[in-house]
């Protein structure tokens, strides 16, 4: 049995019209029922307020509000329509440091461009099947940044140092 993707609402945010067209075409082929588009971070926020999508696929580098800014706003703005919405970042950034930055902004999943159909499907299925617990601390609100869940973590407490510094 396949997922009933026709019930899903997905927001695609990218300042490149061609990338949006490509991602929208892939999502339509997957059978996603409702797809909304935004060409900027500001427009993304408006679309989030208007349509209450279930998943957001977000470019990082955009003029004005970046994908990271929008993600942080989604997680922490008191006006956010859904602080728990899964954010899949689709970006030209590749480095581990950049993946960490995205994670620290509250991104759930990260896909490095070029666009891969299989990666997109994997990340969609991951946010459905393996949602992360949420964490609230003095300096962070968002998906748990440890993939297997904080309660299983037995290593050194790095977050403690960061928060003490903050």
């Amino acid at each position: 049995m396949a997922y009933q993707f026709d019930r899903l609402k997905v927001l695609v945010v990218d300042d490149s019209a061609h990338m949006r067209k490509l991602v929208v075409t892939i999502l339509q082929a997957f059978g996603i029922g409702y797809i909304y588009e935004a060409d900027s971070g500001e427009r993304a926020w408006t679309q989030l307020m208007e349509h209450h999508p279930d998943i957001c696929i977000m470019d990082w580098m955009m003029e004005g509000l970046s994908g990271m800014d929008v993600t942080q706003k989604i997680r922490t703005d008191p006006m956010s329509p859904n602080p728990f919405i899964p954010v899949i970042m689709l970006t030209g950034y590749h480095s581990l440091d950049q993946v960490r930055q995205a994670r620290d902004a509250g991104v759930n999943e990260f896909i490095a461009k070029p666009v891969s159909i299989k990666s997109l499907m994997q990340r969609l299925q991951s946010v459905i099947e393996n949602p992360r617990p949420f964490v609230r601390t003095k300096v962070y609100f968002g998906p748990c940044r440890r993939r297997r869940g904080a309660e299983e973590y037995r290593g050194p407490e790095r977050r403690e140092k960061k928060e003490a510094a903050a």
């Binding site: 019930r7 061609h18 339509q28 997957f30 059978g31 461009k113 159909i117 499907m121 099947e129 609230r136």
Partner: protein
């Protein structure tokens, strides 16, 4: 090991799962096949899309030449960065490589220092040539040699 700091950890209800139900184990291969077919139909447009990105990069470079300020430098970085991510999708992997080198250069030269414009222009010209000659093969010798040399020059400029 007991946690001593105030961390609230909770699992929100899985609304997505409730909406879409359960899928078969593994990836939905039928959906992937449909998407591959749809992407193949679009492939004829990719060269034009790459051309748009090349034009955008050249326009951003021209704007930076006329008004070399923080805004035009940021626009040049965005154009290079977009190309780095998109060109391989559009079947121009060597443009993606050169654009990656260019975005590294623009992104890592401190903002209070001037960009080495000769090296920026060498990247822009190489991208233009790769597009003009439709060098879509990632193992094209000329494109590889140019890319390697540009990457070396960027490493030297960033030292």
């Amino acid at each position: 090991m007991a946690r001593q700091q105030p961390i609230e950890l909770f699992m929100p209800p899985n609304i997505l799962k409730a909406k879409v139900g359960s899928g078969a184990p593994g990836l939905d291969l039928a959906a992937i096949k449909r998407a591959e077919t749809a992407m193949d139909k679009m492939r004829g447009e990719f060269a034009d899309w790459a051309a748009t990105d090349v034009d955008k990069l050249m326009a951003a470079r021209a704007r930076f030449g006329k008004t070399p300020d923080a805004a035009s430098r940021a626009a040049l970085l965005r154009a290079a960065h977009d190309m780095k991510g998109q060109a391989a999708t559009y079947d121009f992997p060597m443009i993606a490589r050169v654009a990656g080198s260019l975005s590294k250069l623009i992104g890592e030269v401190p903002e209070n220092k001037d960009l080495p414009l000769g090296l920026v222009d060498a990247h822009v010209s190489t991208i233009h040539v790769i597009y003009r000659d439709k060098l879509t093969d990632a193992s094209n010798k000329m494109a590889m040699a140019l890319s390697s040399e540009l990457e070396k020059q960027v490493e030297a400029a960033l030292k």
